[in-house]
């Protein structure tokens, strides 16, 4: 039961923020944030941070709902088919883009509208110390000397770390055997045990092992060095034009009324720009690069155009084949 | 579209299921053979009523939940379930169903806060 004083306080706070977009009766009750990945992974952790900050801004609970399964398809479809009233939003990463070509059951890009851009997470290349490889150049030389002999651990196709390695192979003109592991944790274990020679998982998952000398980070495929590994060079610094990584954004199902979209977009952007939020995210290993919905849409289109040819070349297009390819 | 088997060094999706299937068939044949050779007891008789009613109550849960909401669905499920035993008359079963609905609402919706819709969507 809301007493008079809290109603007054609420009115005061809405008056104090006159430039914020408003929509009558929105949000009404808790907002659900669907994450298509299991609890505890990077996506889950990052979205829980977002949910916490967003619920403080919106004044209603924002509940993270994990709907993992079928390489994200189940969760992505749950977002796309939710009632378009703005009460349900979800995380949207490049996996949602690859899924639409790999799986006829996955929702198409057109079934979502962009809300905001959380940040990027570049790929990286790391090796088991027992390989004796200490630099990227040595790795390339070893791979060229015996194509397919080096084994690299990563996601099953077309998961993120699989695509990173496929892209490295293409750009560096090398060939390695790609071994599939069900997630980053088992991949890292395999690199540590030396079952595979190298791995292509992002920096936050391996940085502690790198610092402990149990594996060696060779290069990061970001535009800049990773803040957690300032001593590891980028591919570009080493003379290779390789920039590939993942990103996380938020999306709503297509058809949400414009005034509600505006509320969600403005509040999300404000969350991302908040320095306290950024510090928290950084501690958890995420570099937040706030972006509005236009930036998000651009990232979607960019990924769509760059990933499609890689998938096509690897024979991974199983649905929604583009005309003329 | 049949699944590819691939080779032992590069197995495709169909390799392992076929391997297991072959083993099932082989052992199945052995079982049939031993069943023919050895004399055993016939399986006990079947009772259809509990079999049908218990599964019907579970299926009813799945069929009704999205449409009728948590409360009504559970009532139907509990009613069907209690009739499976033929131990209670319909009135007692209805009272039991009512009590179970309340207990489950208290546990799953209030105590655990699960996002379940209580009543039908109007």
């Amino acid at each position: 039961m809301m007493n008079r004083r809290s109603i007054l306080a609420l009115t005061a706070s809405t008056l104090a923020a006159p430039r914020m977009a408003r929509a009558a009766g929105f949000p009404e009750g808790p907002v659900t944030l669907i994450v298509a990945w299991p609890a505890g992974g990077g996506s889950d952790v990052s979205m829980r941070l977002v949910a916490e900050a967003l619920s403080r801004r919106l004044g209603v609970p924002v509940l993270v709902e994990n709907r993992p399964g079928a390489a994200g398809t189940i969760g992505h479809r749950a977002i796309a088919t939710a009632r378009p009233d703005g009460q349900t939003i979800g995380m949207f990463s490049q996996d949602a883009i690859t899924a639409q070509y790999g799986n006829a059951n996955a929702p198409a890009l057109t079934e979502f509208v962009p809300l905001g851009f959380f940040g990027e997470e570049p790929g990286s290349l790391q090796v088991h110390p027992g390989t004796g490889i200490t630099t990227l150049a040595e790795y390339i030389a070893r791979a060229k000397a015996a194509p397919g002999k080096l084994r690299n651990g990563g996601n099953p196709a077309p998961g993120a770390s699989f695509l990173y390695m496929a892209y490295y192979e293409r750009k560096l003109d090398i060939r390695v055997t790609k071994v599939a592991y069900a997630g980053y944790a088992p991949t890292v274990t395999a690199v540590l045990s030396g079952e595979v020679d190298s791995g292509s998982v992002p920096v936050p998952d391996v940085i502690e092992h790198h610092n402990a000398g149990r594996l060696r980070l060779l290069a990061v495929s970001g535009a800049e060095r990773h803040f957690m590994a300032p001593n590891v060079p980028t591919f570009r610094e080493l003379g290779h034009d390789v920039v590939i990584g993942g990103w996380r954004s938020l999306a709503a199902p297509a058809g949400v009324p414009a005034d509600r979209l505006a509320v969600l977009r403005e509040n999300l952007l404000a969350v991302f720009k908040d320095t306290e939020f950024q510090t928290k995210a950084r501690h958890a290993g995420f570099a937040v690069t706030p972006g509005d919905h236009a930036r998000t849409a651009a990232a979607w289109v960019e990924a769509d155009t760059s990933i499609y040819p890689i998938m096509d070349e690897l024979g991974l297009i199983k649905a929604r084949r583009k005309q003329g390819t | 579209m049949p699944l590819e088997s691939g080779t032992a060094g590069a197995m495709e999706a169909g390799y392992y299921p076929r391997l297991v299937c072959a083993l099932v068939v082989a052992l199945g044949c052995l079982t049939v053979l031993s069943g023919v050779l050895q004399k055993g007891e016939l399986p006990e008789t079947w009772h259809w009523w509990p079999l049908v009613m218990v599964s019907a109550s579970a299926v009813a849960f799945a069929a009704l939940l999205d449409m009728a909401g948590f409360a009504i669905t559970l009532f139907v499920v509990a009613l069907l379930a209690s009739l499976a035993g033929r131990l209670l008359n319909i009135w007692r079963a209805a009272v039991l169903a009512g009590v179970l609905v309340m207990l489950n609402i208290a546990l799953f919706i209030y105590a655990l806060g699960l996002p379940l819709r209580l009543w039908p969507r109007i």
């Binding site: 505890g40 992974g41 189940i74 799986n103 274990t189 079952e195 | 509990p50 579970a58 209690s82």
Partner: protein
Amino acid sequence: MHDLISNLAMGFGVALSLQNIGLCFIGCVLGTAIGVLPGIGPLPTVAMLLPFTFALDPTGALIMLAGVFYGAQYGGSTTAILARLPGETSSVVTCLDGYAMALKGQAGTALAIAAIGSVFAGIATTLLIAAAGPPLADVALLFQSADYVAVMLLGLVSAVVMAHGSVLKALLMILLGLLLGTVGTDVASGDYRLTMGLDMLADGLGFVPISMGLFGLAEIMVNLETMAGRTAIAKKVGSLWPSRAVLRQAFPAMLRGTAIGAAFGILPGGGPTIAAFSAYSVEKKVARDPSRFGQGAVEGVAAPEAANNAATQSCFIPMLCLGIPPNALMALMVGAMMVHGIQPGPSIITKQPELFWGMIASMAVGNIILVILNLPLIGIWVKLLQVPYAYLFPAIIVFCAVGTYTVDSSTGDVVLMAIFGVLGYVFRKLDCEPAPLMLGLVLGPLLEENFRRAMVLSDGNAMVFLQRPISLGFLIVAALLLAAVLLPSIRRGRQEAFRE
């Protein structure tokens, strides 16, 4: 030794602060509660709790979340013993003799033995982590895909040992489980397999709907046909506290179970499950009269419960000491640490000793809290069994349906449960035990994944399983065990054939 004592003293200093005891208590209570409920497992619970821990300091938060994990293992055996509902994989084994004991009116003893076995294993394993955590963690790195294949084969063979009755049927049930385990998305290629075009099968057949159907619903169907107003479960409850003779009988089983559990828990994948199955079959092998098993042998409850709790505890070893999570639960713990700004990894022991030793000490504290919490609860649980079956079984059915639904908010899973209920009834009529099937179902995907990977890594050379010493060792043990089960039954079969 001196280091160990001073480190543990520091750990207990952290764990015994008033705030941390309170948090540990909350975690244990929550864990017990969700362990009892089928469906809601520790994974979603910790995920839900995570935001509330933002306000706490990291050590307190992790102590509470860890409490949920091992608390859930305590609760898990309750429904298995009372109603033959295994809410999680490792309690499938507890069902066998635990429920048989309940039918004989010894539910209280079974629950008490389960709790005592768990606390014993929990504290023993905690000491093991404290004394030898880091070197043990490195053991996990010795194992490669081929070795996991051998470990899992050993686990599957142990399910043959534990089955009473026909060896052939047990083998077939395992294979059926393996086959059901292939349903879903192929890990390597992403192809949908045997999904019949159904999206809900894209992730394979879930454990909860199948075990609720095969065990819970089938049991009700069988009970309802034999009784007209009779109760399935003995009315007399017997004494709640196990007699000294029973304890003496159960203690060696707990010891063996703890050792087996602690060893398997360190390994990624099906650790606690394989541990529980192996511990049970070891008991059956060393017992003077193996025919008691399945009829309510107290060792059949003590050993798997100890094994499963020891494994739950020892899977913290690679997570805490190396930052390698051996299963999804530990991956979530890693996630929780990251949310709190702690990077899990080998440096955690030196950089954050209070956190490391505080968590270890809190596990000992938590186990004591759990046993204090659970022993009085037994009286209440046993009272539930005195409710007339006519009222009890509809409640169990509703509970199964809602519990199964809550796992993934999927009504399809509830239909799946109904289908497997019917199948479970058919299996009962044909004298086929469902437990080996469950093990096959759980281990199947892991077995395939590691088998395929081992073959990729060896370029298709199957000899790799014999070349790696670890793998060879496990395979030899598995072969010996299988021979030990097969030979007598073949001989018996021949004798019967001659008698004809």
